[in-house]
Structure formats: structure tokens, C-alpha cells
């Protein structure tokens, strides 16, 4: 009987543990968000986090977007040529980039940079008593460390994705015209004719959610890190892995919401 029940008990414990973790993260997020509406406000910290996310992530996001656009054109051209449908390449590229690849790939890139950075910084503050020091200095750590980063994540990511959208499409245009013989004006016309506001808007909404998730996982894992260097290292890894998985999972949920009909 034990042989049957033990694995079930393990699964049950795992599920309960996962529920507890999700609940804790949700409460953490709620508390941090509530601080955004109550003074004092730390504008300098918000700007610093915003700059760190939007400016310093720009090169990696830009490179990712350009190469993705380039590859996408090559792959879709090869596939569409089998059906004599190469004229749809521009449409496919702009739709894929704005709806999916821009927000998701930028989100994953930023997850690697920012989640890790936030988790390491806040985790180090935790294990060196700096967070306790904040409390003794009459400063709420959630308000000071977490709330500005969450806001910065939610607002900076759409800007990055906007840049990624433009560069991704341009990367595709570059290969289409230079390598595959498309006429530049025709390719661009097809791109802009097919592009709809909803496509870009849904991508930007996704970006905002992903930015929030990246900042949330980074701050949450860092805030709850324990032990010394090993604990901070573990928190950093968990932050990157969790935020990446959540981006992919939420991408499906948001896509379902926007385009289910």
C-alpha cells in the first residue's frame, strides 16, 4: 500500500509546495504594488532601474531582434517557395515579430540580464544584513527595493519591444532585399499594409507583463535568498529559470486572450 501511496504523497507535497510558492509570490507582488500608490515615492530608484532595463538591455535585445528577423525571412522564404507563396514572407515576418517573437525573445533576453541582476543585488543585500539595515533606518524594503523595480520593468519592456519590432522587421527586410531579390518598396509596402495596430498593441501589452514578471522574479528570489554566496547564486538561477518559464507560459495565456476568436 505504501508503494502506491508514497509517490502520491510526494506529488501532493509538490503540488502544495508549488501552491504555497505561487501564493507567496502573489502576496509579495501585491504588497509591492500597493507601495506604488503610497508615499514616499523613490523616483531616483525608479529612474535608475528603468535606465538599467531599457538602456543597458538595448544592445542584446537589438541584436536578438535583427538576427531573428533575418533568420525568419530565410526560413519562411524556403517554406513558402514550395507553395509559390513567397509574396507572403513580409506579412509573416511582421506578424511574427510584433505579435510573438519581439516580446518573447526580448523578454527572455531581459530575463537573463535583469532577473539575474536584481536577484544577485537584492540577495547580497539580504545575506549581508543590508535589508535589515533598511528597516532599522525607517525605510520599508518593499517600497525601496521592490516597488520601483517592478514599475520600471513594466514600463521599460514595451519600449524595448518597440525597438525590437522595428529592428526585427528591418533585419528581415535587409535579407529579403539583399539576398532574396525582393524589391525594397514592395516588401515594405506589404509589411505596412498587413500591419495592424492590434498586433503591435498586443505585443506591447505582453511586453509590459513580461517586464513585470522579470522584475518580480528577480526581486522575489533575491529578497528570499538565504545563506551566503551559494544562496545568492541559487536565487539568481531560480530567478532566471522561473521568469523564463513564466514568460513562455504567460505568452500562451495572453495570446489566447487576444486572439482566441
Amino acid at each position: 500500500m505504501d508503494l502506491v501511496l508514497n509517490p502520491l504523497a510526494a506529488v501532493g507535497r509538490g503540488v502544495l509546495g508549488a501552491c504555497r510558492t505561487v501564493g507567496n509570490a502573489a502576496l509579495f507582488a501585491l504588497e509591492a504594488v500597493s507601495h506604488l500608490f503610497r508615499p514616499p515615492f523613490y523616483g531616483r530608484l525608479f529612474l535608475k532601474a528603468f535606465f538599467e532595463i531599457a538602456y543597458f538591455s538595448l544592445p542584446v535585445v537589438a541584436l536578438t531582434a535583427v538576427f531573428t528577423g533575418m533568420v525568419l525571412v530565410l526560413q519562411s522564404y524556403t517554406g513558402f517557395a514550395r507553395f509559390n507563396a513567397t509574396g507572403a514572407v513580409a506579412n509573416l515576418v511582421v506578424l511574427s515579430i510584433t505579435r510573438e517573437l519581439g516580446p518573447v525573445l526580448a523578454g527572455l533576453m531581459v530575463a537573463g540580464r535583469i532577473s539575474a541582476s536584481f536577484a544577485a543585488e537584492i540577495g547580497t543585500m539580504r545575506v549581508t544584513d543590508q535589508i535589515d539595515a533598511l528597516t532599522t533606518l525607517s525605510t520599508n524594503p518593499m517600497k525601496y527595493l521592490v516597488a520601483p523595480r517592478l514599475l520600471a520593468g513594466a514600463l521599460a519592456m514595451p519600449l524595448l519591444v518597440l525597438v525590437a519590432d522595428v529592428l526585427g522587421v528591418m533585419g528581415g527586410w535587409l535579407i529579403a532585399t539583399l539576398k532574396l531579390g525582393f524589391v525594397s518598396a514592395t516588401y515594405l509596402k506589404a509589411t505596412f499594409d498587413f500591419l495592424q495596430f492590434d498586433d503591435v498593441f498586443s505585443g506591447l501589452v505582453k511586453a509590459s507583463v513580461f517586464g513585470f514578471i522579470v522584475a518580480l522574479m528577480g526581486t522575489w528570489c533575491g529578497y528570499n535568498s538565504k545563506g551566503g554566496a551559494q544562496g545568492v547564486g541559487g536565487a539568481t538561477t531560480t530567478a532566471v529559470v522561473t521568469s523564463s518559464i513564466l514568460i513562455l507560459a504567460l505568452d500562451y495565456v495572453l495570446t489566447e486572450m487576444f486572439f482566441a476568436q
Binding site: E121, D132, A133, S138
Partner: protein, 274 residues
């Protein structure tokens, strides 16, 4: 009075002192972490404007005692009063306001790496908008001078400072907002004996100058005798002795004397962990 808001603090403090109420009073404070009892009914009185040193081996509950008073740890049971007000039952806002009256020097300094020294020193004043950034620089220079550091140190990053300088900056940060209770967590750990004595001297001077009440935890007996008026020993989560700090080592209590003299044999059973 709803609690210990800053404007009420002086009044409450004077009133309490006039009635002979201890500045800090702990009764039956208990705390366990994951079933492991760390505080097992701590009773302790710290008179106003005195300097109390809490002694005890590693894991005996010293840090948790201080963290409980500071509100960093919520005790499971018991009463912690400051100026006669039970801080454990205070509303959150009043509890946070209590922090305005408290300074803390952490064992490793706990200076904020991302801020220059002057912002570290005046962090509380800046965070509460009690001072402009321009004036904070002047105030930081003033407090740094009090702990024997040049004003130019204010522009450095904490990582550029030696261990002794970091302790001085941490002390400057603890006293910058002129608190009336200051906690010192192992203030001389990691310092050479001369620098330890210097830091002790600064602690004694600063506490006297502010007229503050000080609570320190330390393993360093020389330091304990220098900075403490009174001492208490905590063992297995309970206060087992209280007396003058000057008598440490010849107090007549076998446990205290074994600990103070660093003797291997005695009533304290050291648990060697593998």
C-alpha cells in the same frame, strides 16, 4: 497617545524615566524557528541612559533578542516594552515610527554598496525628507568627524574602505539621526585589538554625548568591559546572569566566569558540531 510617534517620543521617554520605568523591558520573550527554541522566556531590563552588554555563545539567542526588540523578528510570546509601551502590540505604522528613535550598528556594517559613504551616513534623514541632499553632505561630514573620519571619506564607496573605517561609517550612520536607543551587534568583530579599542572609545563617547541607551552584543570581553555599565549573559535562550560589566571574569557566577575567561572546563557544555 496611540504609540511612539517621534513627536511623542521625548515626552514618553521623560515620563517613563520619571516613573523609574526601564527604557527597555522584556518579559517572557519566546521565539522558536522551525521547532528549534531560540529564546525561551527572556526577561531583561535596560535602564535609561545605561549601556547594557549581552554576552553568550554562538547560537545562544543574542542576535534574536536584539532583532526582537528592533522588530526584525516577531516573538512567539512575551512582552517587549520601550518606555513602558508594549511595542509588540503597536500598530504597524507606530512600530515603524519607533525606528526613528533607534540606531543600529550591524556586525558587518551592512553599509549600502550602491551609495557613497555620505548617503549611507544620512540615509535615514534623506529617506524621511528631514534634510535636503545639500545639507545631508554637511551633516555627513559633521558626523564623520565625530567618528574620526575626514569629510573626503564621504565621497568614497563603502567597498573602498578598510574594515575599521567601515565600522566607523556604520557607527556614524547609527548616530546620525540622534537616536535615543542604539544597538551594537558585535562592534569589534574582525578588527585588530587597537582598532577594537578605538571603536569602543567612539561608541562610549557617542552614546554619552547623545544621552542614549545602548544595548550591545559581543564575544569580546575587553570590549564588553569598556562599553558596558551592566552585562547580562544569555544561555540556551534564557538570561542566566545580570551584573556590572566590570565584574566580568570574577563575577562569582561559574558560567559567566568560564565564558568571560574563555576556560575550556566549566558548567557550559560546548556542543561540538560535525
Amino acid at each position: 497617545m496611540s504609540g511612539l510617534a517621534p513627536r511623542d517620543a521625548t515626552e514618553a521617554s521623560l515620563l517613563a524615566a520619571a516613573h523609574g520605568v526601564p527604557k527597555i523591558r522584556m518579559r517572557g520573550v519566546k521565539k522558536a524557528f522551525a521547532g528549534k527554541v531560540v529564546l525561551d522566556g527572556v526577561d531583561l531590563d535596560v535602564p535609561a541612559q545605561s549601556s547594557m552588554v549581552i554576552l553568550g555563545g554562538s547560537g545562544s539567542g543574542k542576535s534574536v533578542t536584539i532583532k526582537s526588540i528592533l522588530g526584525l523578528v516577531q516573538p512567539d510570546e512575551g512582552v517587549i516594552e520601550i518606555d513602558g509601551v508594549n511595542v509588540l502590540t503597536l500598530p504597524r505604522r507606530d512600530r515603524e515610527a519607533l525606528g526613528d528613535r533607534i540606531g543600529m550598528l550591524f556586525q558587518n556594517g551592512a553599509l549600502f554598496d550602491s551609495l557613497p559613504v555620505w548617503e549611507n551616513v544620512c540615509f535615514k534623514l534623506l529617506a524621511q525628507n528631514r534634510i535636503t541632499r545639500a545639507k545631508a553632505r554637511d551633516r555627513a561630514a559633521e558626523v564623520l568627524a565625530q567618528v574620526g573620519l575626514a569629510a573626503s571619506v564621504g565621497d568614497l564607496s563603502p567597498s573602498e574602505l578598510s574594515g575599521g573605517m567601515q565600522k566607523r561609517v556604520a557607527l556614524a550612520r547609527a548616530i546620525a539621526a540622534k537616536p535615543d536607543i542604539i544597538f551594537f551587534d558585535e562592534p569589534t568583530t574582525g578588527l585588530d585589538p587597537i582598532m577594537g579599542a578605538v571603536i569602543d572609545g567612539l561608541i562610549v563617547d557617542c552614546v554619552k554625548k547623545l544621552g542614549a541607551t545602548a544595548v550591545s552584543i559581543t564575544h569580546d570581553m575587553a570590549s564588553a568591559r569598556r562599553i558596558g555599565d551592566a552585562a547580562a549573559m544569555i544561555f540556551k535562550g534564557k538570561i542566566v546572569w545580570e551584573g556590572p560589566a566590570a565584574t566580568l571574569g570574577h563575577s562569582g557566577n561559574a558560567m559567566v566566569d568560564q565564558f568571560a575567561n574563555g576556560e575550556r572546563e566549566g558548567p557550559i557544555q560546548m556542543e561540538l558540531r560535525r
